[in-house]
């Protein structure tokens, strides 16, 4: 006759964000290493040379760290005031930095003392960089000017004073040694050509520009300022391609992944967002402990380094498959493949009479107990830690099945202190989960009914019941607030045509609310 039908475990829609290729990629980093600096970390720059050391500019120092070291391999401490924008030259030999003292210093990476000092700016220099031909230095200063310097002679080659506010960021073109781009607090991004007297292109960002970044192809330019990240098409004469508003505080830094496929932006709202450069949609999001001022990705995305306002440098290294093997140690011995195919790879000949063994349906432990009508044991088997913690939906499905059979009360009754406390802890963990709430509220009611008499005999159980009550009360408040919000939303939606979402949402919340308030009354009555 028909065989036993196993308990159906309903598949719930997955809550939270969907797992995509991007989330898998960006999650594949180890827990961050935290390094404490002396002040806010304003700039991180990777050396283009092989060990890929990185320079971290914070307070009056510039530290150079090795890829896996937590101690600086080198530090430049000769600044009398805050240093800014420590940047490597493309050959990795020289490092340039601006400072609050209106000076620009050029260091040899292997040396200690500054090779050159460039004087001429009247106010703090926040942005310095090398030009693509390696012989010039660009700088932008709070005196509204940006200048081009000759490295060997320390002479100022040209000066542009078109900006009307602090120049805080900029980037040289990697393809053309004469072209560089600056962003300023006067809301504009300007493109300069050293062969011309004036700027060749001006783009209005609309907010004080905090950071600019060129795409590897240099056809597109990204600027960040205020809450916006804007992408400009340079070849169309500086037309805005897309304007992204995904942060809720000022975006401070930008960075491109090694392949050029993803764009990262860090913000004072403590988030780093990853955008796809084809769709300009946010594909991933990192959370940090403090506001982010600077961010950098190592070549090949081997590590993500973020500098924050509280002086903490967070370094995340990528997980490598080899690492896991090291950590895991000895792998578990499994039966060999031939054990499973034993006797099954024999092909019957033409005249053979085949006697097949009846295939045995494998039932889970709870199904075996349910088949025997052992309701308490079935419930016990799904209240084991690995089931109730990892797959609460299985536990709930079995409870639902017991309820359908009308034997839930029998299964819940007759538990000792330990069993009851496991049951209560499961309830506390899951009772407010909207997927499980309807049935678990019934369970909670039944538990209170059954064990009303023993309240006061065990401190552990009493504590848990109080906790449950607290939880339920909190949930009621929460639902009440939601209802208020919904009421407000309803008035907003009333004018719009799309009423359906609000109506559906409203109904769901109403029903849950109703159940929960009923339970709360019960608890108050009992305890």
């Amino acid at each position: 006759m028909a065989s036993y039908k196993a308990t159906r475990i309903p598949s719930f829609p997955r809550l939270g964000e969907k797992v995509t290729q991007d989330t898998l990629y960006w999650r594949n980093y180890k827990t961050p290493v935290q390094i404490k600096e002396f002040g806010a970390v304003t700039k991180i720059d990777f050396s283009p040379l092989s060990p890929h050391n990185y320079a971290v500019t914070a307070s009056t120092r510039i530290h150079i760290y090795g890829p896996y070291s937590q101690e600086p391999v080198k530090s430049f401490t000769r600044f009398k005031d805050t240093a800014y924008s420590g940047t490597f030259r493309s050959d990795g030999q020289l490092l340039v930095a601006g400072s609050e003292e209106a000076l620009i210093r050029l260091f040899d990476v292997s040396g200690r003392v500054a090779l050159r000092e460039y004087t001429g700016h009247s106010k703090a220099v926040h942005f310095t960089d090398f030009s693509a031909d390696r012989f010039h230095i660009l700088s932008g200063s709070d005196d509204y000017t940006c200048r081009l310097w000759d490295i060997p002679s320390s002479a100022e080659v040209s000066r542009y004073s078109e900006h009307t506010d602090y120049v805080r960021c900029g980037t040289p073109s990697r393809l053309n040694p004469d072209v560089f781009i600056t962003g300023s607090y006067d809301h504009t991004v300007k493109v300069f050509d050293s062969r011309k007297e004036r700027s060749v292109m001006t783009m209005d960002h609309g907010q004080p520009v905090e950071s600019v970044l060129l795409f590897p192809s240099e056809g597109l330019l990204v600027s960040a300022g205020g809450r916006y990240v804007k992408v400009w098409d340079m070849l169309k004469g500086g037309q805005v391609l897309v304007s992204l508003k995904n942060h809720h505080k000022t975006v401070t830094c930008l960075c491109m992944s090694s392949t050029g496929q993803r764009l990262l932006s860090g913000s004072l709202d403590r988030h780093v967002k990853v955008y796809s450069t084809t769709t300009y949609k946010v594909v991933h999001n990192f959370d940090y402990a403090a506001s982010i001022l600077s961010i950098a990705l190592a070549p090949n995305d081997d590590s993500i380094i973020a500098g924050m306002t509280n002086g903490v440098l967070s370094v995340k290294h990528k997980k490598h498959p080899e690492d896991r093997k090291m950590v895991g140690g000895t792998s578990r011995h499994r039966p060999a493949y031939r054990v499973f195919v034993k006797g099954k790879n024999y092909m019957p000949k033409q005249d053979d009479f085949l006697v097949r063994k009846r295939e045995k349906a494998h039932l889970k432990q709870y199904d075996k107990e349910l088949k025997r009508f052992q309701v308490s044991k079935a419930l016990d088997s799904v209240l084991k830690p690995h089931v109730r913690l990892k797959t609460p939906e299985v536990t709930v499905a079995v409870i639902q099945e017991l309820n359908r059979r009308g034997t839930l009360k029998n299964a819940l009754a007759g538990r000792d202190e330990k069993g009851l406390s496991i049951l209560l802890s499961f309830l506390i963990r899951n009772v407010v989960d909207s997927r499980f709430a309807p049935i678990l509220l019934t369970v909670a009611e039944m538990v209170l009914d059954i064990y009303m008499k023993v309240v006061g005999q065990s401190a552990v159980v009493d504590k848990q019941i109080l906790k449950l009550q607290e939880l339920v009360e909190k949930e009621i408040d929460y639902q009440q607030e939601l209802m208020e919000v919904l009421g407000m939303m309803d008035t907003l939606f009333a004018t719009m045509t799309a009423k359906k979402e609000a109506a559906a949402l409203c109904l769901v919340h109403f029903s849950t609310n109703h159940c929960i308030s009923k339970l709360s009354k019960k608890i108050q009555k009992g305890g």
């Binding site: 006759m1 028909a2 065989s3 036993y4 039908k5 196993a6 308990t7 159906r8 309903p10 969907k18 995509t20 295939e359 349910l370 088949k371 099945e401 359908r404 059979r405 009308g406 309807p438 019934t442 359906k500 109506a503 559906a504 109904l507 029903s511």
Partner: protein, 822 residues
């Protein structure tokens, strides 16, 4: 089986669909079962019905084997007659007229020429009497020689049992067990208390006596089985109690040897207690539905249980199930027609939908909708399939299952099933729990072939549209259904919904208002209202009448709105309880209530005069109706039967009878085919049966293991009578095997290829004329003869064939003619 209605029209109920297995009697080859006013004889090996013993005019209440002749059976009925039948040939031998209502019948070896029947006494009591059967000849005999045996017995057949070959009779009624010894002519009565401190309920439900030991087994309301011994003393009787059943024991039966006691109840588990071995027992679990009756064949090799869901299960004594005779299960959902198999779809086993082939009067398969273990327990709230709908192509099935424990807790699951071509059955695609906050009151698919849409209306005041959509995010999952639109109208409760034939309009009835929506934009196009009275049924006209929308209201109004002018075209005051459109024509069938019976009107919305009307098609109301498309258009219909030409109307009455309309010519065909069936099915175990039957059985087993969802497959060719004869004829009179081989193989071919082959063979015949191969010619002549058995013989003969025939006449075919004649 046929009830004549005004000459041409009659109602038939689809024969074996109804078993009503109230009484069964099992033999090694045959299974007898009383069903209504007839006794059905089934073959235990083929599960086919062999005979229907018709003659009683009221419910058959008893069925017993004649103890002196094992090929005869007594039956009794409420019409006050006892009839003696030869069940192997299906012949009525004798009728004994008693003149009182007979509630049960028993025979015992001890008393030849006497049967025991239960008759009503005055004041609602019943008595067991011995009826002496007069030995006079003649088909009808008055039998008035009655001798009272026991007074105050229960009229239920299960509550009385003859023990030890008829030495005593035990009968239980209420809380009292009475045992009457024929030798001593003495009655002993034993009483039990109604209940005790432990909550036992001791009322007797059934009695069985051990065939050759002094032991009586009684079943009780609380599931206990008591084995009484030493009951020939008034005081020193003893009994032992066994308790396994959790609710009343419905049936008890000893095996003929007395080694085992079989019991069954609501749990639908057959329990086999070993006699004399205490509480040792075996189980046959999950028989599907509550056991009503148990029977064992006289040699003890077969057991048989009849179930509440119109099913008889035959199992061997090794607990292997050998046959299941399943009738149409009574249900409450909508009647549907599956467009692919043309099968009737309705509730089957609990939580299942059954696909019942109307053409073959046979259940095709059961589709498990609920997919939960069914707990057989009285008073448990079960998950029930309440609504079902199939789209026009038969590729999607939507079902609604409900479980309501109390008014506040309602579980509703809307499930959508996709038809899978490879496995030929439906597979679950989407399951939506709590699709509506209240019960789902109506559901329908749009007729649009490209974008199938489902609309459900709920008691929560909304109607929802569901669309099949691909979710690109969900990897590895195909398309699934999701909600597309939620609509409501002034917080009224929607009751009915209906799509127009092309799927461009949706009509939803909200109370007394009909709203018409455009499913593409979800715009409310127009509203109709004809107060007072809420909308009961809604449907759009089809084909040439597609501009009409028809609705019926609770206040006896049938309205027809014109959708082009948005006005009421006509209305009439008829209390229409059911309105059913024919999907293949413009016709509509309306059932109306009139003084205890139901009238039927068939009309076209565009014409004022009904095409057909029939007063009092059945007593009581009609629950559901459906138009089933015919396999082929019926030719030669006159004006009044024109509406039956492309589809047939089936309807389900209050008493759960399925009825249909058919024309006279059809009726004759049915009778003819049923006669043919009788000839065909007197099958014994032949070598050929062993060959093909084995095949069939293994096929069935695999079907079962694949959760019995596979659809009806092409049947293997059945043995034609010629082969059967061939295998039965003694070998020494047959021609040589090499000669017979060709013929045998030809007859095994499936008929379609046979017809093609027939043509080619005729050509061959023409060629072979010159060669004058008499033997070969005789073989090819044999081929068409076999095929012609079921089809009509062709009267026209060509000249070449006539010449052939003449040639055949010369040859000696005496052996062949003896084959065909026998």
């Amino acid at each position: 089986m046929y009830r004549w209605q005004s000459g041409l029209w009659r109602l038939i109920d689809p024969g074996p669909g109804w078993i009503f297995a109230s009484l069964i009697h099992l033999f090694v080859q045959f299974l007898l079962c009383a069903s209504g006013d007839a006794v059905h004889v089934y073959s235990t090996s083929t599960e086919e019905r062999v005979h229907v013993l018709q003659g009683h005019v009221d419910l058959v209440t008893g069925l017993r084997l004649n103890s002196s002749n094992h090929l005869q059976v007594y039956s009794c009925s409420l019409d006050g007659t006892v009839k003696l039948w030869d069940f192997t040939d299906g012949i009525l031998i004798k009728t004994y007229i008693v003149g009182h209502k007979i509630f049960s019948l028993y025979v015992s070896k001890f008393h030849e020429g006497t049967v025991f029947i239960i008759l009503p006494m005055e004041s609602k009591a019943f008595q067991l009497v011995a009826l002496h059967l007069p030995k006079t000849t003649g088909p009808e005999v008055e039998a008035r020689d009655i001798l009272s045996v026991l007074r105050d017995v229960s009229p239920i057949p299960k509550a009385t049992s003859f023990g030890r070959g008829g030495e005593f009779v035990a009968s239980a009624s209420g809380l009292q067990l009475s045992v009457y010894f024929f030798r001593k002519q003495k009655t002993y009565r034993f009483s039990l208390k109604a209940n005790d401190k432990k909550g036992a309920r001791n009322r007797f439900t059934c009695v069985a006596s051990h065939p050759n030991d002094d032991c009586i087994a009684t079943g009780h309301e609380d599931g206990k089985i008591r084995l009484w011994r030493n009951f020939s003393q008034k005081k020193e009787y003893t009994y032992s109690t066994e308790h396994w059943h959790h609710s009343a024991v419905n049936a008890l039966h000893f095996t003929p040897e007395g080694t085992e006691l079989l019991s069954g109840g609501v749990e639908s588990v057959l329990v086999l207690w070993r006699y004399g071995a205490g509480s040792k027992k075996d189980f046959v679990p999950r028989l599907g539905s509550a056991i009503e009756h148990i029977s064992v064949s006289p040699d003890g090799s077969l057991y048989c249980t009849s179930h509440k869901d119109n099913k008889i299960v035959v199992m061997k004594s090794s607990r292997d199930i050998s046959a299941i005779i399943q009738g149409l299960v009574k249900g409450v959902t909508d009647l549907l027609i599956d467009p692919r198999t043309k099968a009737l779809v309705c509730n089957g086993k609990p939580g299942h939908l059954q696909f019942f082939s109307l053409r073959h009067d046979k259940q095709l398969y059961n589709l498990d909708i609920v997919q939960q273990e069914y707990i057989h327990e009285a008073g448990l709230h079960q998950c029930e399939v309440t609504k079902a709908a199939i789209d026009a192509q038969g590729s999607w099935l939507a079902t609604v299952e409900e479980r309501q424990e109390n008014p506040e807790e309602l579980d509703i699951i809307l499930k959508l099933w996709a038809y899978d071509e490879s496995t030929q059955s439906f597979h679950l695609n989407t399951s939506i729990s709590m699709a509506h906050e209240g019960q789902i009151s109506a559901m329908c698919f749009s007729g649009d072939a490209e974008a199938t849409m489902l609309v459900t209306t709920g008691r929560d005041g909304h109607f929802k549209a569901w669309l099949l959509a691909d979710h690109p995010d969900a990897q590895g999952e195909g398309a699934s259904w999701s909600c597309d639109y939620v609509g409501s109208y002034h917080r009224r409760e929607p009751t009915r919904c209906c799509f127009s034939a092309d799927g461009s309009l949706l009509a939803v009835g909200f109370g007394e208002v009909v709203t018409v929506w455009s499913p593409s934009t979800w715009e409310l196009l127009v509203t109709f209202s004809q107060p007072p009275g809420d909308i009961r049924d809604l449907c759009f006209g089809r084909l040439s009448c597609s501009k009409y929308l028809l609705g019926t209201t609770t206040k006896n109004l049938l309205c027809c709105w014109n959708l082009l002018t948005c006005s009421l075209e006509w209305s009439s005051t008829v209390d229409v309880i059911l309105l059913q459109p024919d999907p293949l024509s413009e016709n509509m069938a309306a059932f109306s209530r009139a003084s205890g019976s139901t009238d039927l009107f068939v009309f076209k919305p565009s014409e004022p005069r009904p095409l057909f009307s029939q007063k009092a098609v059945c007593s009581g109301t009609v629950r559901r109706a459906v138009f089933a498309p015919r396999e082929e258009v019926l030719e030669g219909c006159d004006e009044s039967t024109q509406w039956l030409s492309c589809s047939r109307l089936y309807f389900l009455t209050e008493h759960m009878e399925l009825m249909t309309f058919s024309t006279k010519s059809e009726e004759d065909q049915i009778i003819a085919s049923s006669k043919q069936l009788v000839i065909d099915d007197s099958v014994a175990v032949t070598p050929f049966y062993l060959l093909l039957g084995k095949h069939r059985k293994s096929q069935r087993e695999t079907q079962d293991s694949v959760s019995s969802h596979t659809a009806a497959r092409i049947q293997l060719p059945q043995g034609s009578p010629a082969i059967r004869e061939l295998l039965h004829t003694p070998a020494h009179v047959l021609p040589s095997a090499s000669f017979l081989c060709n013929m045998f193989v030809n007859s095994l071919l499936i008929s379609k290829c046979r017809e093609e082959e027939m043509g080619s063979e005729e050509e061959e015949e023409a060629e072979e004329q010159e060669s004058e191969g008499e033997m070969e010619a005789s073989v090819s002549a044999q081929g068409p003869a076999v095929q012609g058995f079921q089809t009509e013989p062709t009267p026209q003969l060509s000249k070449a064939q006539e010449r052939e025939l003449r040639k055949l006449q010369k040859a000696d075919f005496s052996w062949l003619s003896s084959l065909l004649d026998s």
